[in-house]
């Protein structure tokens, strides 16, 4: 013996197969990532193994969501939680997508492509990660024989070699297929998960919010948040709903309600509606209503819808009225009013945040007089395009502000409209209804039919197509023998 140091061997690990990670074990990944990045930035050594958990998700495009998470504070808590859920769904589909494909391949060939192994440096890798180094010698003979039987390979001298070649081919094919389809599968799966979980999370948030308001929002002074709560209560009273998110969701569904109640889906064709200009569509609608009002059972439905439309209009206008009042009281101190809070409030009420922003900006303009130095021309044009503000804008131009307010606040208006409709003077009724309800109806129709166009279903169609293609690929191509071209062998 040359020396005793050959006897005192260091602790030496052999490479070994390990079961693949369960979902709960992925919690270590962010810790390892942070550790690796910190070590890299402090000029210490960093290995490919450390970088792996960062690079793989970034390569599949998960960074898009990671990136928008980075500044989520701007949008408010509700949307921020939505971002979080979306990010989780994205990562989940990143993890589950390849597992699903591998499971299908396992059903056919018996090869477990999820298999992990730990190498001599205690680093955990996927067994089929690197096509140039596949440690297939770790697979026990039983496994090899089982796969060989499954694939129908004969018991010859080089059986193990044959089976290993086949396994390598299958792993390469599956990996390639996942890389090709990941760009479609991951967005589709993530959006599907989000659609399913959306209502639950938004309900949860609104519950938390209302609890917060009832506990801490008791002081109705002139401060901005208290003002907002007062307004919320008022609008809840008007519309009969208890919180904003429910109102928003209900409003979303309302589009479909209206269109179905009036039976419009059977009369109009989606493509025509989407392409038709608003004036023409309105004329068509009036003609359709005149036909409808002659049918007694349709009349009831139309009545309900019209009632709803006018009610909605009244609620909206009283909201505007209230905001005008509250801001008007503080007109001198308008600079001090937190613009963001007003935006936030109206953002919960109106369907879109854009509407909210433009409404607030519009009120500013309205109260201060239009100061074009402060607001750019572009912004004014944006304001004019908004359906919520368009009506008010028209009234300002015509100088009929008081008239509009009384018109909106008049409870007898609905009866008048109904009477006129029963008398079949539709033009006059439409005129009385004002621009806003009609616009709402047109908007509802367009959005309803928009959803039925092929291009809005393209995501689902892509997902289904990929699923079918994956089935076909697994059934027909995986494991099939081709006349492969060998690599260069010096």
């Amino acid at each position: 013996m040359p020396g005793d140091y050959t006897i005192s061997t260091p602790q030496y690990h052999y490479a070994r197969l390990v079961p693949s990670r369960s979902l709960s074990q992925y919690g270590i990944v962010p810790v390892r990532t942070t550790n690796a990045l910190a070590r890299g930035l402090s000029e210490k050594s960093m290995t490919d193994y450390d970088l792996k958990p960062v690079k793989d998700p970034l390569a599949i495009g998960g960074g898009v969501i990671l990136a928008s998470l980075a500044t989520l504070g701007a949008v408010g808590k509700t949307l921020g939680v939505g971002h979080m859920v979306g990010f989780a769904a994205w990562l989940g589909s990143l993890v589950l997508g390849p597992r699903f494909v591998n499971w299908m391949v396992k059903l056919k060939t018996g090869v477990n492509l999820n298999q992990d192994y730990v190498n001599t440096y205690d680093e955990r890798y996927k067994l089929y990660r690197d096509p140039q180094y596949l440690p297939l010698h770790l697979l026990p003979d039983e496994e090899i024989n089982r796969i060989g039987d499954r694939l129908g390979l004969p018991y010859t001298v080089d059986r193990r070699r044959q089976v290993e070649e086949k396994i390598k081919q299958i792993s390469i094919q599956t990996r390639t297929w996942w890389l090709l389809t990941a760009g479609i599968v991951v967005p589709v799966a993530a959006s599907g998960m989000n659609d399913v979980t959306r209502d639950f999370f938004y309900g949860l948030i609104s519950k938390l919010k209302s609890t917060y308001h009832t506990q801490f929002g008791l002081n109705r002074t002139e401060s901005a948040p208290a003002m907002m709560r007062h307004l919320e209560a008022y609008i809840d009273e008007c519309i009969g709903k208890d919180n904003h998110s429910r109102l928003t969701r209900w409003w979303d569904k309302f589009d479909h309600q209206v269109v179905r109640q009036l039976g419009l889906e059977k009369v109009f064709k989606p493509h025509d509606v989407v392409k038709m200009p608003d004036d023409k569509l309105a004329a068509e609608l009036i003609r359709h209503f005149s036909e409808l009002s002659q049918v007694p059972e349709k009349r009831q439905a139309m009545d309900e819808v019209l009632q709803f439309l006018v009610k909605q209009r009244r609620a909206l206008d009283s909201m505007e009225h209230e905001v005008l009042n509250t801001i008007g009281q503080h007109q001198g101190a308008l600079e001090a009013v937190d613009k963001r809070r007003v935006e936030k409030l109206i953002g919960g009420l109106s369907r879109r945040k854009n509407n909210a922003v433009s409404t607030v900006m519009h009120y500013e303009v309205l109260l201060k007089g239009i100061k074009r130095g402060e607001i750019s021309k572009k912004e004014i044009r944006w304001l004019m395009e908004k359906p919520v503000v368009g009506e008010v804008q028209r009234l300002i131009e015509q100088g009929m502000m008081e008239e509009a307010k009384t018109l909106a606040g008049n409870p007898n208006l609905f009866n008048e409209i109904r009477r006129l409709l029963y008398d079949k003077s539709h033009d006059r009724a439409a005129e009385l209804m004002g621009e806003s309800p009609r616009k709402h109806l047109l908007h509802a129709m367009k959005s309803y039919f928009n959803k039925r166009l092929w291009r809005t279903r393209i995501l689902g169609m892509l997902g289904g197509g990929v699923a079918i293609a994956t089935l076909l690929f697994t059934a027909l191509i995986v494991g099939r023998t081709f006349e492969t071209r060998r690599g260069y062998e010096p």
Binding site: K55, G61, S68, A70, A182, L459
Partner: protein
């Protein structure tokens, strides 16, 4: 034994291939990598046996290489992967990950824009995805430029394998292809890193620092890329001006239908000016934060500024000072120098201890 210069394997740098950059070339100098005897090397050279060699791409080569990769290599690789050919490599997998990387953005953007109801927000989200790619690309370009300028390390350096494939020299943090770097490159890196010129093993000293630099560059690329993409997609994309820019309010149509503007070039110039003014408007609107900005926005922006500054600092600072052995080490001094420090740091502490004990003539 001294051989005539025609037979001796040349020990200078690799042949640069301007203008071609096409696989299939052969280097007469690359055989020194195989540690062959001179005669075999000569035989291999005259028989044109291919070897790994560095590629020196200019811009035209890079463009051609990108074109070939996208339209010829990638489809061929995909077909190969779907058949499950045996000669597929890790770099091929790396190439194929470009497909989901860009396809995801395309699918997301098209799905946003196709869902016609909320056009403004859809346009802004589409702009966010574009800005994500711009941010990541910007971070990569910045870090590459820093390290090229400061350390002379070209992180995008390509080499051609003997089988014709083109790969990146610094693709792996674990094992960059140090063996391919030429003495000239080593000399330049050494000069730029401030390592003393009269070292016994110059290349080893450079390699240690290069490894550190590559690690740092990788980490910087990831952190900066996420930060840039975050500021782009989460902050800059939240401007309404994107809708004007992408969705159009008829400004571009006016430029292209205006009879007063003569010629196509003028129109192109006008539309570029239009886009530029809108872009600067967006930057002015979003990057100058007012009182109402959320703390997280401020935090993200300042973090980005700080990380860019850190990257500059990394690139401009001198490599960590270290005691280098500047004279050749004789065999009787292996293991410890005159100062008593260990100079050969290879191997574990145990191995060093054994080497030290053996050379000092201790136990056996």
């Amino acid at each position: 034994m001294t051989l005539p210069p025609s037979i001796q394997p040349r020990r200078d740098g690799p042949v640069s291939s301007h203008a071609t950059g096409i696989p299939g070339g052969f280097s007469p100098d690359g055989n020194r990598k195989y540690l062959l005897d001179p005669i075999t090397a000569y035989e291999r050279n005259i028989n044109h046996v291919p070897v790994d060699r560095l590629l020196d791409f200019n811009r035209a080569d890079k463009a051609l290489y990108g074109f070939r990769t996208a339209f010829m290599t990638l489809p061929a690789t995909i077909v190969k992967g779907l058949r499950g050919d045996e000669d597929i490599t890790t770099a091929d997998y790396g190439l194929m990950t470009k497909v989901p990387y860009y396809l995801t953005g395309l699918v997301l953007m098209s799905s946003f824009l196709a869902a016609g109801r909320k056009k403004i927000s859809a346009t802004r989200m589409g702009a966010g995805i574009l800005l994500y790619y711009v941010g990541v690309g910007l971070a990569n370009a910045m870090v590459n430029g820093f390290y090229k300028l400061r350390y002379g390390i070209d992180l995008t350096q390509k080499y051609q394998r003997a089988d014709g494939r083109i790969e990146n020299v610094y693709n792996s943090v674990d094992a960059p292809r140090f063996d391919l770097l030429s003495p000239e490159q080593y000399r330049q890196i050494q000069r730029k890193m401030g390592i003393p010129p009269n070292l016994a093993d110059r290349e080893q000293a450079c390699r240690e620092q290069i490894l550190r630099a590559v690690s740092c560059a990788e980490a910087l690329k990831i952190v900066l890329g996420v930060l840039f993409a975050g500021v782009g997609a989460g902050h800059l994309a939240r401007s309404d001006s994107w809708a004007v820019l992408l969705n159009g309010t008829g400004a571009m149509e006016k430029i292209w239908k205006d009879a007063k503007i003569p010629g196509v070039l003028q129109r192109i110039r006008h539309s570029f000016n239009h886009i530029g003014s809108l872009g600067s408007q967006i930057l002015r609107e979003r990057l100058v934060l007012g009182k109402e900005a959320h703390w997280f926005q401020k935090f993200a922006l300042w973090l980005t500024v700080g990380m860019v500054g850190y990257g500059l600092y990394q690139s401009l600072r001198v490599v960590k000072p270290k005691q280098y052995q500047s004279s050749p080490i004789l065999p009787n001094r292996w293991g410890n120098n005159s100062a008593g420090n260990t100079t050969l740091e290879t191997g574990s502490a145990f191995q060093q201890f054994v080497r030290h004990r053996n050379l000092e003539g201790g136990t056996f």
